[in-house]
């Protein structure tokens, strides 16, 4: 591992981080600044195609994601794009895979790129990484631990990765490569980073389980039951906090935790916090700088009790 592997990267926040995931955006930038890592936001970025466009025409999604990578590579001179949102990360990876393997996708992307007046993105120009890769592979656990000012010691955390960070396996060729690489079966990068910051990770069997995020609004009852089960499993495992790394999962957990109480009469206490917010606290940043007050799940009392705020 090379130190400072991703010291300066193109940053693609995506739509969610400007809306419901605003605190994730704030805390990611704050942590980057505290660690001396440079994030240069992709200029004039667009939606990655998320689920809505992909479901109507997957090739339009491929184009939309390719445009983000084209700007980063051809207009900004970057070879790495960091996307903290699981949906964006997944879609950029999928576009990369499609462009490397599917002639039809290449034709559509080329045609639309010419029409839009920008250079066509070619597979291999950009490496897309997640915020977890960014910190883990730049600083590593030792590098991070050396910068911790306020250990998370005593905070019991269930790490929840959601379903899009590892699936489908074929679009993540760098994973499952043995020691040092991320696993699609048992992801551990978030566990590793938070442990380095002093947290106690609990054994949590639903770390990649579906939260029903895509059906949050169309089938709220199923989503509420799925989320409640995830939350109750985390509590049964002894967690005080569920750490998240996806804005959709995070909002889903927060929203359905409240809905479960209202609709099903089941009250749960575990707090939902972005992993970047937890790392920021460990680095000595204030809760406000990390957007902790923006979370629906109010963790301030717990953080104060643990002397982290």
């Amino acid at each position: 591992m090379t130190e400072w592997k991703y010291k300066s990267v193109a940053y693609y926040p995506g739509c969610a981080l400007e809306g419901t995931g605003h605190a994730y955006n704030t805390s990611t930038k704050a942590v980057g600044k505290a660690l001396g890592l440079k994030l240069e936001e992709v200029k004039n970025w667009n939606c990655c195609g998320a689920m809505e466009v992909k479901n109507i025409d997957p090739k339009i999604q491929t184009y939309l994601s390719s445009r983000v990578m084209s700007i980063a590579a051809n207009e900004m001179g970057h070879d790495v794009v960091m996307a903290p949102c699981n949906g964006c990360y997944h879609n950029l990876k999928k576009a990369e895979y499609d462009l490397a393997h599917d002639e039809k996708s290449r034709e559509v992307v080329d045609r639309l790129s010419q029409k839009a007046g920008h250079k066509t993105y070619e597979a291999g120009q950009i490496e897309t990484i997640h915020a977890l890769d960014w910190i883990k592979q730049t600083l590593g656990e030792e590098g991070l631990a050396a910068r911790v000012k306020n250990s998370l010691g005593g905070l019991k955390i269930a790490n929840y990765y959601g379903c899009m960070y590892t699936r489908p396996r074929h679009i993540f060729p760098e994973k499952d490569k043995g020691p040092g690489s991320e696993s699609t079966y048992q992801p551990h990068f978030m566990d590793d980073l938070l442990a380095a910051a002093g947290a106690e990770n609990v054994e949590f069997p639903l770390k990649t389980a579906c939260c029903g995020g895509a059906h949050s609004l169309s089938d709220s009852d199923t989503s509420t039951k799925l989320v409640l089960n995830i939350i109750q499993a985390a509590e049964a495992a002894g967690a005080e906090v569920i750490a998240t790394e996806c804005p959709t999962c995070h909002s889903g957990l927060e929203m359905h935790q409240i809905r479960a109480e209202k609709r099903l009469g089941v009250q749960t206490k575990v707090k939902i916090v972005y992993f970047t917010q937890l790392l920021g606290l460990a680095l000595g940043l204030s809760p406000r700088k990390l957007g902790l007050h923006e979370n629906i799940s109010d963790s301030m009392a717990l953080m104060k009790e643990k002397q982290l705020a």
Binding site: P168, L226, N229
Partner: protein, 139 residues
């Protein structure tokens, strides 16, 4: 599915850990059998890595990659089953076995909710895709 729901509502400690672990593993198989029969497919009797549950999952995901969203859930069920049996057979009153049974129940519940939710939403279709009717209608 009603029998599985009943099993999930019963306390995890209502039976010895090793027995509960087997019940939950078989209930997981039953959930996947429902998925396959609902799609007019004969559930396999074969095993993958020694477990029918994993073979049923593989069969369920064939032609429907979105079903892979419960792949790790199935593997977690097998893992918990194995650990519980190991621990419980060595010491029947072991507290670790009892707590793992509770956790295995959550894993089974997830599989049950995920698959039953997908079955309920069959008209809407694949995971992460509530717009399937739009595509099928326009095709």
């Amino acid at each position: 599915m009603a029998e599985i729901a009943e099993l999930l509502e019963a306390p995890a400690a209502a039976a010895p850990p090793a027995e509960r672990a087997r019940d939950y593993l078989f209930a997981g198989e039953a959930v996947l059998e429902h998925w396959l029969t609902a799609h007019e497919r004969e559930p396999t009797q074969s095993a993958v890595e020694g477990f029918r549950l994993l073979a049923l999952h593989r069969q369920g995901a064939k032609g429907d990659p979105s079903f892979n969203a419960c792949r790790e859930t199935c593997r977690e069920l097998v893992y918990h089953h194995n650990v519980i049996l190991d621990v419980a057979l060595a010491a029947p009153d072991n507290a670790e076995a009892a707590s793992r049974v509770v956790m295995m129940r959550f894993v089974l519940n997830h599989l049950y909710l995920f698959v039953s939710g997908k079955l309920e939403e069959a008209g809407l279709g694949e995971f992460c895709c509530s717009a399937r009717p739009l595509r099928t209608q326009s095709a």
